[in-house]
């Protein structure tokens, strides 16, 4: 087991971050291509909106999983956490833009109403807003400027974003289906393991 963990960690060190971004953006490229070439079925706007939202949530969950994975197994993917988080943010923004431009088509009156009346939109928006300062402070320079402690405190907003997103997904389903429950389970499970007291031999890392 330990040998395997070492191998994974060695391999992870070799992965260039650029490759993570490139791979992570592939779904977006595919969705855009499919959207403009009529490959998204009968209601392409909704389909693109859904796929982007789902991919955003998947990257959010991956981001959240990095620390527990390290604590529970020793696998260190911490280098990849920033690309994963920024990819999540990118997909959230694309998801939001599709909603704004292609779905709501900039009908400001209706958009304004949705933003205050519909709980799933309010939660989605909370998720998006919570991620803005995270994306803004994602570079090393920001971390140095803020200092590690303040930076880590700020980046706990990730928990809020993920929780809001999970609830957003749960609430927009008309009936309780399995998928949003599984995603919510993943998010809240990953939040819950953070409450487990750390074992002393693990150095404190957020």
């Amino acid at each position: 087991m330990a040998a395997l963990v070492e191998r994974v960690n060695d391999a992870a060190r070799l992965v260039p971050r650029g490759a993570v971004y490139a791979l992570g953006l592939l779904p977006a490229v595919w969705i855009a291509f499919a959207l403009f070439t009529g490959r998204l079925g009968v209601d392409p706007v909704l389909e693109a909106e859904h796929r982007l939202g789902l991919t955003a949530l998947q990257f959010l969950i991956a981001t959240l999983a990095v620390t527990p994975l390290m604590r529970l197994t020793g696998i260190k993917l911490i280098r990849l956490r920033r690309p994963l988080g920024l990819l999540a943010f990118t997909y959230v923004v694309l998801h939001f833009l599709v909603w704004l431009v292609l779905d709501m088509q900039l009908f400001w009156a209706q958009i304004a109403e949705d933003l205050v009346k519909r709980w799933y939109i309010i939660l989605g928006m909370a998720g998006l807003l919570a991620m803005l300062p995270l994306a803004w402070t994602s570079r090393d320079a920001a971390l140095r400027r803020m200092g590690g402690a303040a930076w880590r405190r700020l980046h706990r907003l990730t928990y809020l974003a993920a929780a809001a997103a999970a609830l957003h997904y749960l609430m927009l389903a008309k009936t309780l289906t399995l998928e949003p429950l599984l995603y919510a389970g993943a998010v809240f499970g990953l939040l819950a393991v953070r409450a487990i007291p750390r074992r002393p031999r693990n150095p404190a890392r957020a």
């Binding site: 959207l35 403009f36 079925g41 009968v42 209601d43 392409p44 706007v45 909704l46 292609l102 779905d103 709501m104 088509q105 009908f107 009156a109 209706q110 109403e113 949705d114 009346k117 519909r118 709980w119 799933y120 927009l172 389903a173 008309k174 009936t175 309780l176 289906t177």
Partner: protein, 296 residues
């Protein structure tokens, strides 16, 4: 809430199209009183393609995704088929589908508006529900009509999980049910109804949200009291018994002021939703004196 006006939305082409839609409503009304069998051809409505109509369905009996019904509805056996008619009628009984097919059918090109704020135009084939009700002779005390969808989890995989309180149930007030626009559909584009669209026989009430138009009907019951209906039982504050298309009464999840017209392509404009889905001239009288905000 601010109402959308033409100016908010409209390149001229769409505006013309909208006028055609309104004209379509009027023509459909005329047709409703024409002799049976005459097609409602001159509606000005451009029907969606067969592909669109048959591959984008809400039919939770086969799954909650829009493409689940097309994928899984093939498992459903639709022959033999019969409808049990009971409750407050002079002639209760089990009516075989072939007997019902005896009613003269006509083509009706109707707008179809889903509560999820998308819409299509569908060329149905069918007969007025009134013809069937006349045959079974509702008693004087009957005020509502209740409908039930087939419950057969072995063939309807969505029913294997309790996502809704099966069997699916819907209902209409008797005067709504007797309205000439209210159709029992058995076909689309002259073909038998595909399973994913509610084969072999379904209801179509064009001025109400799509979930009222119950599919694959096996029971019709005349009642004195308002019957329980599935989505209303599930979330009464979201789905009313009437469920009339109404741009001014929002659903908690979706604004109903505008709709995405399926098939318009990526950059098709959202369209303003019409009162009673464009059939106000024909059906508004049914609701005179009612507060449509409270009885939604």
């Amino acid at each position: 809430m601010r109402r959308l006006t033409e100016n908010d939305v409209t390149p001229k082409a769409l505006w013309l199209n909208r006028r055609a839609l309104i004209a379509g409503g009027a023509a459909a009304a005329g047709a409703a009183t024409w002799p049976a069998g005459q097609a409602v051809a001159a509606t000005g409505l451009e029907p969606n393609t067969w592909e669109e109509i048959t591959s984008y369905n809400n039919f939770y009996e086969f799954g909650t995704d829009k493409d689940d019904p097309k994928r899984y509805a093939g498992a459903l056996t639709t022959a033999p088929w019969s409808i049990a008619v009971d409750g407050l009628v002079a002639r209760p009984g089990i009516y075989d589908l072939d007997a019902l097919r005896g009613f003269p059918t006509e083509e009706r090109i109707y707008r179809f508006r889903c509560v999820e704020a998308w819409s299509m135009v569908i060329p149905w084939n069918g007969f007025p529900l009134a013809a069937l009700l006349d045959r079974v002779e509702p008693l004087g005390a009957a005020r509502y009509v209740a409908f039930e969808t087939l419950y057969r989890p072995s063939e309807m995989r969505g029913q294997q999980r309790a996502i809704l309180d099966w069997p699916y149930r819907e209902g209409l007030r008797l005067d709504e049910a007797m309205h000439p626009l209210t159709l029992m559909a058995t076909g689309i584009y002259g073909e038998d109804l595909p399973n994913q669209n509610g084969a072999p026989i379904r209801l179509v009430v064009p001025w109400k949200y799509g979930f009222k138009s119950i599919k694959s009907i096996v029971r019709i019951t005349l009642t004195e009291d308002e019957p329980p209906t599935t989505w209303n039982m599930m979330a009464a504050h979201e789905y009313g018994f009437y469920a009339n298309v109404n741009p001014e009464v929002d659903h908690p999840r979706w604004s109903q002021a505008t709709e995405r017209r399926i098939g318009g392509g990526l950059f098709a404009r959202r369209q303003p939703t019409l009162m009673f889905n464009g059939y106000a001239d024909e059906v508004a009288g049914l609701y005179r004196g009612m507060d449509l905000t409270a009885q939604f």
